[in-house]
Symmetry: C2
Subunit: 349 residues, 2 copies
Amino acid sequence: MFDPGDLAEPIIQAPLAGGPSTPALASAVCEAGGLGFLAAGYKTADGVQEEIEALRGSTSRPFGVNLFVPPKSGVDSSAVHAYRERIATEAERQGADLGEPRSDDDDWERKLELLQQESPAVGSFTFGLPEASVIDALRANAVAVWITVTNADEAVRAREAGADALVVQGVEAGGHRGGFSDDPEESGWGLLALLRVVARRVSLPMIAAGGIADGQAVAAVLCAGASAAQVGTALMLAPEAGTAKAHRELLSKAGPTRLTRAFTGRTARGIVNRFLLEHNEGAPAAYPEIHHITSPLRAAARRRGDPEAINLWAGQAHELAQKLPAGEIVRRLGAEARAALADVDQRLG
Amino acid sequence: MFDPGDLAEPIIQAPLAGGPSTPALASAVCEAGGLGFLAAGYKTADGVQEEIEALRGSTSRPFGVNLFVPPKSGVDSSAVHAYRERIATEAERQGADLGEPRSDDDDWERKLELLQQESPAVGSFTFGLPEASVIDALRANAVAVWITVTNADEAVRAREAGADALVVQGVEAGGHRGGFSDDPEESGWGLLALLRVVARRVSLPMIAAGGIADGQAVAAVLCAGASAAQVGTALMLAPEAGTAKAHRELLSKAGPTRLTRAFTGRTARGIVNRFLLEHNEGAPAAYPEIHHITSPLRAAARRRGDPEAINLWAGQAHELAQKLPAGEIVRRLGAEARAALADVDQRLG
C-alpha cells in the first residue's frame, strides 16, 4: 500500500477541485518527487477517466484521486429559495441566469467503480466517511484510502472504518472544510494543535493540510508528526494549474480570507470580496444546492474577469504563493524544509 | 537586550492572568532554562510589585512581566445593561451578586512606572500597541518590549513602533485573543500560517503562541521561524500554577473549546460549558465592563467547584497538558522537541 513517508519530497498536491486541478499539474508534482492528485469532484466519471488516462500518459509515478462523499442530510428548501431570490440581482449584474437548486451525489457510484477499475495509488475522500465496505473493497484492490478529518473525533472514526491515512485539515486551509459535518465550530482547529491531538489518539500516518505555502511550514508539520504536507494554494499560480486569471491576480497579494457558505452552501475559505461580504450572513447550510444556484453566476464573473463575484478559494498564507512551474515549487519546498531543519538543529544544539 | 534565542530551553511561559500565574510558576520555568512571566493584568500595581519581589527572591534569572493595554473605544452601554439583566438568574444560581459595569485602565500608568522601576528583562503587552514613547522609554531602561499580534498588519505596526519582538498568537490559543482589535475575523489566523506570513513581512524575533502543548509542537514552531514557543495551558496543571480545582479537572480531558465574549466582553477561548453556550450569542464587545459584571459570579462558581459557570480558559490542545512540576514540563518540552527534530532529519535524509 502506498506510504506517504516514502515520497522523495514530502509534498502532496491538494486535489483542488473546481478548476485549478489538471493532469499537467498532477504530473509535474509526481515527476518532482511529490504526490500529484486529480480532483474527481464536480466532474463526470467519464471526465475523470480521461484525466487519469492523460496523467498516466505523462508519468508512471503513483498519484491520488479525490472524491466527494455525498451529503446525507436534506436541506431547508425555503431557506434555499430565499437565498436564490436574495442573489438574483447579482446574477443580473453578471449577465447570468441562476442555476436550479438541485441535490446530487456527484456521480458517486460510478466514480467508486472508476477507482476500482483504475486503481490509483491513493483514493482520498472529502466531506465524510465512506461505508467501511467501500473502504475494504478499495484496499483489497491496493488503493490506499485517505480520509479528510478536521477534528480528533473524525480521526478516530476514520481509523475505526479502516482508513490507511488521515488528511488532517486545519482551519487555515483554502476551499471547502473537508470534514464530516459542516459545523464550523467542530472544524475550527488550527493545524498544529490538531496534528498533535490526532497523533495522541490515532496512530495512522497523517498528511497535514492548511495554510502550508513554504518549506519552513513543511518542516514544521513534519516535526508535528505528519508524514507529508499537502499544499494547494501554493501550487495555484503554477502555469500547469487551471486557476482562473482573476483568481491568480488576487492570490499572490496580501489580503484577508474568511470562511463562508455564500458561494456553495458549505463552509469554505476564500479571499474576501464583495459577494462574500454581502451574502455571508444570509447563506444557508445547503450543499450542493447553493453550489448549483451560484455556479453560472460565478462562471460568468470568471469569464468577465470580475473578482468580486468569484469564489476566490485561498488558504490563509496565500500571499506566499509563487508563480513558478509546479515541479520547481515542489523541489523548493523540500529544499527550504531541509534548510529550516538544519537551522533549528543548530539552535537547539 | 534580552534575546529569546539565547534561552537554554526555547520555552516561554504565557503570562496566564486571572489566577494561574504565580511567582512560583515563573520561578520554576526560569530555573529550568525557560523564561517565566508574571501577569500584571487584573492586579494592583502594588500586588505586582510584591510578586516581582517574591520572584526575585527565588531566581536570579531573567523573567518577563505582561501588561494589558487599556481599551481605547467606548462601549454600547445599553447592550451592556441588557447583558447584565440576561445573566441575573445565573448570578442567583451561584449565590453571587453581579458586579458593576465599570471601565478602567487596569492601573496602566502605575504599572508602567513599576516596569521602569523594576526593569524586568521583558515587558510584554496584550490588547494593543503602547505609544512609541512608552516603548522607547522602556527600551532605554533595558526592558525588551514584546507586542502580542494576531495578524500580519499588527506585526508591521508593532515593528514601526519599535518593538523588540513579537508574540505571534494563533487562533488555537486559550484565554483572550491578545491583538489590537476584538474583531475575531482579523484574529482568526492559525499559528503556522501566521508565523510564515509575519516572517515574510517583519524581521523581528517571533515568539509562537497558541495550542503548543508538547515538544513536537515546539519543534514545529521553531522550524516555522519562531525563536521560542510560549506555552500556557501546558503549564496549568503544574502544582506551582494557581489554576482553580474545577478548572484543572476539565483541562486534561478531551473536550471542545470555543471563542466567546460571554465571560468578559472580549473574545477568549475556553472549554465549552453551560454558561458559554447559553450566553455566547448575547454577549456584546464590551471589555472590561462585562468582565467586571461577571467577576463575582465566576468567583462564586470557582468556590463552589461548579465548572459550568467558570471561564475555563484553555488552548485547543488542552487535553495534552500534563500534571507535572513546571520545571519538568519545560525540560520535557525541550527534550521532545530535540527528538522530533532528529526524527525528521532522518526522514528527509
